[in-house]
């Protein structure tokens, strides 16, 4: 890859990291600003705060009234969004190269001068409540996943739903917000990534001009909670008025920076990626117990979860699907995978990486992930070699360790009538 030589990185005097990947295919830039704050940094009573911040960051500063951020950016051709996870909050902008200075001005302004206006906070509570109804209350998958996650962890804050519990959404106080802002929206807790049509030295100089004046803060308190070993399978059953049952298995899994990470990813590839994957073929095609299988690894700062989800046809017996799923997972742990399955997973992972690298947005996203979760953006360029190095033995070993029934939480959502 020629990317490694093209990328430039700098650490500002206040500790903020800036990474730039110049690419000139289209006259645009993608920016992502990574804040090391997610629901992992919350406490009972104020869950959802990190996500609420993601909303509040668009709602005005002492220099710009509410609405200015979007109005000014859109008027220069830019669009923006943001997302919050258990571990991070990421702000993203996509804009024509000529808007770079405005975007950095706006991004630094909201890190330095966010306003806390009571009326604005109340209105935004309503928006977040609507988002919660959409993603959780009116959604079988969201409703079940929230409960599975809350059951899988007993000590670690990964048990909190990122969007927040309903009562917490209603009750945040302005002081909660101010304290969270001071602690986490400090330059030393941020990583800014730019990919696209820009000269790297100029981009870094501009980032210095706008962000370096912001004072560093004491580092955020570390999350000290360590989830104790799970001793037995946990099961939960939700009954909801619905037609199609949903089954979710959440297994305890390594953290993002674990050296076995590529093996975890390839294991998921073998199990659920594509029509030729083990679980799709066995459960969807052969036995028709499920209509769709999917999975993902929640890669975070701390050990998290590997999820396997099954959508079942109306009227299906979840127990039959669980039994078939377990038989397949046991077979992988006991007998390993074939060379063809491993090769297939490697090739899918490689193509997946290239597809992301084909866009400036994907480049900014990947650089940020590697810098934040692996401590080094340049590890991105080792990813193909790390994918190629995973052996069949590695896969079987990780399957044995992760796919352990004692360390899983199994949730079923089924029709209220059944």
């Amino acid at each position: 890859m020629s990317g490694r030589e093209a990328v430039r990185a700098a650490t500002l005097a206040n500790g903020m990291r800036v990474i730039v990947w110049p690419v000139h295919d289209i006259p645009n830039l993608a920016l992502s600003n990574w804040v090391r704050a997610g629901s992992r940094n919350e406490t009972p009573g104020v869950t959802g705060l990190a996500h609420f911040f993601e909303h509040m960051m668009f709602n005005g500063t002492s220099r710009h009234p509410p609405g200015d951020f979007d109005r000014l950016m859109e008027a220069q051709g830019g669009a923006n969004n943001a997302f919050t996870s258990d571990d991070v909050t990421v702000y993203q902008d996509w804009f024509p190269a000529g808007a770079l200075e405005l975007v950095l001005d706006l991004e630094s302004d909201r890190v330095a001068h966010l306003a806390f206006t009571p009326e604005v906070i109340e209105r935004e509570r309503g928006v977040v409540a609507s988002e919660r109804r959409l993603r959780v209350d009116d959604n079988s998958h969201g409703l079940l996943a929230e409960q599975v996650q809350a059951t899988a962890f007993v000590a670690h804050p990964y048990r909190f739903p990122t969007i927040g519990w309903p009562a917490d959404i209603r009750s945040w106080r302005i002081e909660d917000l101010q304290a969270f802002y001071r602690t986490y929206y400090a330059p030393n807790n941020l990583t800014l990534v730019l990919a696209g049509d820009v000269d790297a030295e100029r981009a870094i100089a501009l980032a210095r001009r706008y962000f370096e004046p912001i004072a560093a803060q004491p580092p955020p308190p570390p999350v000290r909670a360590i989830e104790p070993e799970q001793l037995c399978e946990r099961r939960l059953l939700i009954r909801r008025k619905s037609q199609t049952p949903v089954l979710q298995c959440a297994y305890k899994a390594p953290r993002a920076a674990d050296p076995r990470g590529p093996a975890v990813s390839l294991l998921l590839g073998v199990l659920v990626e594509g029509d030729a994957s083990r679980l799709h073929r066995a459960l969807v095609e052969e036995r028709q117990l499920a209509i769709e299988v999917s999975g993902h690894w929640q890669e975070g700062f701390d050990p998290g979860l590997l999820w396997l989800s099954l959508m079942l046809p109306a009227g299906a017996d979840p127990e039959e699907a669980i039994e078939a799923l377990d038989a397949e997972l046991t077979a992988v742990a006991t007998n390993g995978v074939t060379e063809a399955e491993l090769e297939r997973a490697r090739n899918l992972a490689t193509v997946g990486l290239w597809k992301k690298l084909a866009t400036i947005d994907g480049k900014a996203q990947l650089l940020g992930e590697y810098e934040v979760f692996h401590g080094d953006w340049s590890a991105l360029f080792d990813a193909p070699a790390r994918i190629a190095a995973v052996s069949g033995e590695d896969l079987q070993a990780i399957a044995r360790e992760v796919l352990d029934r004692r360390r899983r939480t199994l949730g079923v959502l089924t029709s209220a009538g059944s």
Partner: protein, 453 residues
């Protein structure tokens, strides 16, 4: 600096096949986009979903490979391969590593020329599609609201039929329906094949010629949709979703077609009305009131006019307020138009954003397929910035009058808890009602008292 259509080669194979080759070498991937004119317009009126199933079956066994062998070879090299049906075309798309482009062409030729259309695979796929509709009703009813909206708005017109099929129609589709569709609507004159990325253009041109130059034309005429009539007055459909936390709504009428001459002005006005975060709609329903997580609007433009529609959602008890606010915002657009400063902002926004959708080889494969399908020419992209630059307030006003409906003449769909919102939505116009669990997307079809249009 702006985006122009990159250099590419366009060939006609003599039997009607259009072949487009576009080398792009940013990453070692090749993308294909096979567009087969016809799409769901070729479905029998009584059985929507046939084209969609045909598209899905192309990879479920073709040439010498059964469904498993086909998936094994595609995914074994890290490739992707998938078909779907739109109203006017079936599209089959995929990406492979550049080293596998020969294999990609072999698989594509097998899928288009020699699909097995196997009975067992058909039953499995139709069954799964039925369950996927049910699952969407359980987890994302808003995803289906456009299908209900089109059934209401385009009643009697093919655009009103669900391209994916309905639970009821999918259950009735038999192998002979699928075979008849394939025999009638697959053939050289229907195929636009775009190959883009890290390609060996000579190799692929030879391969495509060898595979497709002796393909006979399709036996059926290309299905052409009649021009739909706009709805006069209002119609309201309530889809009962008992216990739902919010009401999801859709408001629409017939809009404009793909060749609408004021496309640039249309894009600018829609950007201002419901196409970006600070749009009038999102400002009212989200930013100022906190009623909803979001509100958007858009146009579907085909060879004849598809729909203009706006959509949003709000907590059940705020259903009336949100619906009134959406209609009042539409009325305000028509009464006040858009000012010069707003227009300037929208122009910068559209110019700033559209290159992001034309970045990869796969993006271009999609766009060139669309340009060929609708006969738009490369000026559709190359002249777009100049067209955007030329739009003034008067043209924007003309577009508002031509393309945006009056709130007095709209189809309204609300998915929500009927026991709590029935009287509220009934106040907006003549009401029909059905359950979210009904196996059709229209109460008339569900009741079986009217032949499905």
């Amino acid at each position: 600096m702006t985006v122009r259509v990159p250099e590419h080669e366009r060939l006609s194979l003599g039997n009607g096949v259009t072949l487009v080759l576009m080398p792009r070498r940013e990453v070692p991937l090749v993308a294909f986009n096979a567009v087969l004119r016809g799409g769901a317009l070729g479905d029998p009126a009584s059985r929507p979903g046939v084209a969609s199933l045909v598209a899905g079956l192309l990879e479920k066994g073709a040439g010498e490979r059964n469904a498993y062998a086909f998936a094994d070879v595609v995914e074994g090299v890290g490739g992707s391969f998938g078909g779907g049906a739109g109203p006017e075309a079936i599209t089959v798309r995929g990406q492979f590593l550049a080293r596998d482009q020969g294999l990609m062409m072999e698989l594509l030729a097998d899928a288009l020329l020699r699909p097995m259309l196997d009975q067992g695979e058909l039953e499995d796929l139709a069954g799964r599609h039925i369950e996927l509709i049910r699952a969407a009703k359980d987890s994302d009813p808003a995803e289906l609201i456009g299908t209900y909206g089109r059934a209401l708005l385009f009643a009697g017109h093919p655009y009103g039929r669900p391209t994916f099929g309905s639970e009821a129609s999918l259950a009735g589709i038999e192998r002979e329906d699928v075979q008849r569709y394939y025999d009638g609507h697959f053939g050289a004159d229907r195929l636009i094949l775009v190959l883009a990325g890290d390609i060996d253009a000579d190799l692929l041109a030879r391969s495509a010629t060898a595979s497709f130059s002796r393909w006979p034309p399709a036996s059926a005429p290309v299905p052409l949709p009649p021009r739909p009539r706009a709805l006069a007055g209002r119609r309201v459909l309530l889809v009962d979703f008992p216990g739902s936390a919010q009401t999801y709504f859709w408001i629409g009428n017939v809009g404009v077609d793909k060749r609408y001459p004021r496309r640039a002005a249309l894009e600018l006005v829609n950007t201002l009305f419901g196409g970006r975060f600070t749009s009038l709609l999102n400002t009212e329903l989200r930013i100022k009131s906190g009623l909803s997580y979001g509100a958007r609007s858009g146009f579907v433009r085909g060879s004849v006019p598809g729909e203009f529609a706006l959509r949003s959602f709000a907590q059940t008890e705020n259903t009336e307020r949100a619906l009134r606010l959406a209609l009042r915002t539409l009325a305000r657009l028509r009464a006040e138009g858009v000012g010069a400063e707003m227009l300037e902002s929208a122009r910068a926004y559209v110019l700033g954003q559209y290159p992001l959708g034309l970045e990869t080889a796969a993006d271009w494969a999609g766009m060139l397929g669309e340009i060929e399908l609708y006969g738009l020419g490369r000026s559709y992209i190359d002249d777009y910035p100049a067209q955007l630059a030329a739009v003034g307030v008067q043209e924007a006003q003309a577009v508002i009058e031509e393309a945006f409906p009056s709130g007095d003449s709209v189809a309204i769909v609300a998915i929500g808890d009927a026991s709590r919102i029935r009287s509220v939505v009934a106040a907006f116009g003549p009401l029909s009602e059905m359950a979210l669990t009904d196996p059709e997307f229209s109460p008339a079809w569900a009741a079986g008292d009217e032949l499905r249009p």
